[in-house]
Symmetry: C3
């Protein structure tokens, strides 16, 4: 069975770089499953910078919603990196999908994976309580998602200033 | 002397669940000392969800301000869980009480406790600096409170994605 | 060669106190290199409180921009504490300086230091994504700065409730 690893951390904490190193440690090429969509110039620039840094050794694939399908199709073909779960959650909420059912479906599929999966997610709950209810709802959902995936993962790391701190 | 444990973490980091498991590890029933008051529907729903999850093995008691009295009355009757200190601080500030004196009084009473106490608190200082001065004042007070209680505690854990990371 | 240590943490996480203890463990007097400028009453009060807490054993020096020069002038005269890098970054951005070049210059000078340097910085990326683009830009720059300094440092600690959690 393929190992499941979760890398969590704040914005610009180096979590993607840590996750890329871990994914490649399982073999090459690795598949990069991007949940981001380039809706605006700021996001397009972030995606381009990420791709430039990754360089060789990667097959890139965009998948904003159907992570379950993406894992099924890429299994047995080397390690997968999913970057990131928080954006996937955002996409599910915007699509008015049942995000809890989607997460449960994803977790149910993990034990059958033969290739490793490294998930990247975000810490969003360590600031002051947000003013607006929508941000609080998102923050709560992201926290629940992180807890569920961490419970299912074999290893969990918190990225701090680019360094992985082992939590599980 | 009863052990003092502090569990800190962000919103939806699983800190309450970790604290409940630790409190029950000292024996049953445990007393749940809730500092929350159901001022609005959102908070009422959170309290109800917490109570439903805790289930059997708990005596619940609401105490928004007088934690010192609540600890005195429940001592010698099994473990106590105080959830949470950040809300207690909010209640003290809203009541225009001397929160620093209240915290010092609480800490002075800890060495004499014969039953264990598990405190839950919040990390609120790892986001961007808040725009308004009131939020900054609250954030500063919460940070000072956490430092003082952590210094007095026997064990301190940071909850990350539902997992306890030992800090002390 | 003098050791380089980085202490990161949220607001009021006790990072300055931890950094002061570590700097003094290398000898006395230590030089406190303050990047803060007392632009308003709130900041002036914070600076005064920090100075009062530090007490004896310190030579204080203000240096909002030229950290490289401050390190050069103080080398060989005991440990240095730089508090803090996030404010230095803010000062560089306000002065419309090339902050990335300034950071690279600082890092290039570290291996030649004969006296130890303890840097304090801030975690600002673990809250909800800020509404305004300027705050996001600052948060991103602060995260990059932290990663670069952490990569160059001999030891890195995350301050949690006044306690140092070793990351490197």
């Amino acid at each position: 069975m393929g190992k499941t690893i979760l890398i969590t951390g704040g914005a610009r904490s180096g979590k993607s770089g840590i996750a890329e190193t871990m994914a490649l440690s399982f073999g090459r090429p690795a598949t990069f499953i991007a949940t981001a969509e380039a809706h605006d110039a700021e996001m397009a620039a972030r995606i381009a910078a990420h791709q430039a840094r990754r360089g060789e050794g990667w097959i890139t694939r965009a998948e904003p919603l159907d992570l379950l399908g993406a894992l099924a199709e890429t299994d047995g073909k080397g390690p997968r990196l999913v970057d990131c779960l928080t954006l996937w959650l955002t996409n599910l909420l915007l699509a008015e999908a049942d995000w809890q059912a989607a997460v449960r479906g994803l977790l149910a599929a993990l034990p059958a994976q033969s290739s490793p999966v490294v998930f990247v997610t975000n810490e969003v709950g360590m600031g002051i309580v947000p003013d607006n209810a929508l941000a609080r709802t998102f923050r709560d959902a992201a926290g629940v998602l992180n807890q569920w995936v961490a419970a299912a993962a074999d290893e969990v790391y918190l990225a701090v200033s680019g360094l992985p701190l082992k939590v599980k």
